[in-house]
């Protein structure tokens, strides 16, 4: 039975620089899948492109390709990456430059999937009758139209398959569903049709399982984390996909980590909503019929996956300027560290009151006592704790108030509770909040465009 091996080498922009290299070297891959785009990342890239029209993609991808290119060509491993961010064509141009520099330009074809950027068409789409309402609040887009910073449709996997069919060795996309980076190659290899729902669902789930890199192979795993072997050299995940729609999750044998039912289950459930209806542009996946089986060391078989017809809309990811925020921090040392931090917080709030500033939210956390889970769940703090970090954050639309707040932290060093330190970074930076606006949109309003470089 034909199987295709797809390995993940990057879970987000900033993940291990070595992982893709080691995955290519030890993974015996057909395809290398690299995921660079969190929702947060798109807004960062948006700011980059605003400063420089040739930026706005995952810059690290270019030097990575410089390192990898000879090896992937020799081994015949194809690369599919959403490194394009909000500027996939610029990303492809940069990769082609690298190929030329290495004298490999005549051996490389780079396919680009674009068209996901609908920013220029938003008004047209609104006029045509789409509300582009916020999926979370149901508010109409018109509420934030003037602050809109970006708008991208989540494309599916067929345009990627198309680029591969055209002969691309490297496919660079903008916004698409993360799993598509794995589904595209499988469509291409197995010749699936758009209504092969079960197969598309299985492939999507395979993509979902490996898209977060080492989270599948023992990383960020609560189940027996101390038993995971050689985490310093953890192997990244590989999906070995069979034409029958089942797949095996594994990792390069030579490397550390652990693939078992517990880690694969944790990852299956990662960042999902209703498991009966996990929707992408290509299919609706059902997670409830999935069966997992440990079929060997570091080999977990995933089978019995069902799919339902795709929705007739694209999910659209938009971002908009939503005000300002900043967080000031100080460290209070033993003894009574928590008490001191609490007293300092009360002092700051009183001084802010006096200044008559304008905030939507003031949020205080005491790291070491209640920062992650809040006070109720964290329970009474250790009275003898070595130190805590006081974190006071403010958010609002009045930039002057936010900036004025940043002046109120350092003074506490001399005019607040004792045994205070950790203030050497200076005043905290006022950040512009780029907020997220998810919406649904009829598929007619965005058309994937496949471009081939290097012909």
């Amino acid at each position: 039975m034909k199987t295709i091996r797809i390995g993940n080498g990057q879970a987000f922009w900033g993940d291990s620089a070595l992982a893709p290299l080691l995955q290519v070297r030890h993974g015996e891959l057909d395809y290398l899948m690299l995921d660079y785009l969190a929702e947060v990342t798109m807004s960062i890239m948006q700011k980059m492109r605003a400063r420089d029209p040739e930026q706005g993609y995952a810059r690290d991808f270019v030097p990575l390709m410089e390192n990898l290119l000879p090896e992937i060509l020799d081994r015949g491993v194809k690369v599919v990456a959403n490194a394009g961010g909000v500027n996939p064509l610029a990303c492809a141009r940069a990769v082609m430059e690298v190929a030329e520099k290495l004298g490999l330009a005549d051996r490389v074809k780079v396919g680009v999937v674009s068209g996901d950027d609908i920013m220029g068409n938003v008004d047209h789409i609104l006029e045509a009758g789409e509300r582009l309402a916020n999926m979370e609040t149901n508010a109409p887009l018109t509420d934030v139209r003037d602050q809109l910073a970006s708008a991208n449709a989540y494309f599916g996997a067929f345009p990627i398959a198309e680029a591969l069919a055209q002969g691309a060795d490297i496919v660079i996309t903008g916004r698409c569903t993360d799993a598509s980076l794995a589904v595209g190659p499988l469509i291409h290899e197995f010749g699936w049709q758009p209504d092969d729902w079960d197969l598309l669902s299985a492939a999507t789930i395979a993509g979902h399982v490996i898209e977060c890199g080492a989270q599948t192979t023992g990383g960020n795993c609560m189940a027996d984390w101390e038993q995971v072997e050689d985490m310093a050299h953890i192997g990244y995940p590989i999906a070995e996909f069979s034409e029958d729609g089942s797949f095996v999750v594994t990792k390069p044998e030579q490397m550390g980590g652990r693939v078992n039912v517990a880690s694969v289950t944790e990852q299956l459930l990662y960042e999902i909503g209703d498991p009966n209806e996990y929707k992408t542009a290509d299919v609706i996946c059902d997670f409830t019929t999935i069966e997992l089986e440990q079929i060997g060391p570091n080999r977990v078989r995933v089978s019995q996956i069902k799919g339902k017809p795709a929705p007739d809309y694209f999910k659209v990811s938009m971002s908009y300027a939503g005000g300002y925020k900043t967080t000031g921090t100080l460290v209070y040392g033993w003894p009574d560290a928590v008490k001191k931090a609490q007293a300092a917080d009360r002092i700051v709030r009183k001084r802010l009151d006096d200044l008559n500033l304008n905030f939507d939210t003031i949020h205080t956390e005491i790291l070491g006592a209640n920062a992650c889970h809040g006070s109720a769940l964290s329970g009474p703090p250790d009275e003898d704790i070595a130190e805590v970090q006081l974190r006071i954050g403010v958010r609002g639309s009045d930039k002057k108030s936010i900036r004025r707040f940043t002046h109120e932290i350092a003074p506490l060093v001399c005019n607040g509770p004792p045994n205070v330190t950790g203030y050497f970074g200076g005043r905290s930076r006022v950040e512009e909040v780029i907020a997220y606006w998810p919406a649904l949109m009829d598929k007619q309003y965005a058309e994937p465009l496949v471009t081939l470089f290097g012909e």
């Binding site: 969190a38 609560m222 999902i272 409830t288 999935i290």
Partner: protein, 114 residues
């Protein structure tokens, strides 16, 4: 009857979906699934996360994986780029859920303690 902490019976992973968070809760053994089903109800999870979660909680069952998915609406102070929380994406909410104390029978307790 005995009170035990959920982490004795389960592991979990959490993350964000916009301004919502999800927590996958997984029984350490298939035999514990029914205990979780009985004890870790939507209502109890909503109460447990009262300070953190401003919206509704939904529970989805995945018996074949001995697991549940909890979906916590408006649990991230506006979501990853907006929030002032250190845990901007709810990555530690998995552990927060495992803090929950649940009630088990003496027989179940034996099962859990192996």
């Amino acid at each position: 009857m005995a009170q035990i902490q959920l982490r004795k019976l389960a592991h979990a992973r959490s993350g964000d979906k916009g301004s919502h968070a999800n927590i996958g809760l997984i029984a350490k053994q298939p035999a514990f699934y029914e205990i979780l089903q009985r004890e870790v109800t939507t209502e109890r999870v909503a109460t447990h996360f009262d300070e953190i979660c401003d919206g509704e909680v939904s529970r989805y069952e995945l018996p074949k994986l001995s697991a549940f998915n909890f979906f916590l609406r408006d649990a991230l102070d506006g979501g990853g780029t907006v929030t002032l929380r250190i845990d901007a994406q709810g990555k530690t909410y998995s552990a927060a859920l495992l803090r929950m104390m649940i009630e088990v029978s003496e027989q179940e307790l034996k099962l859990v303690n192996g």
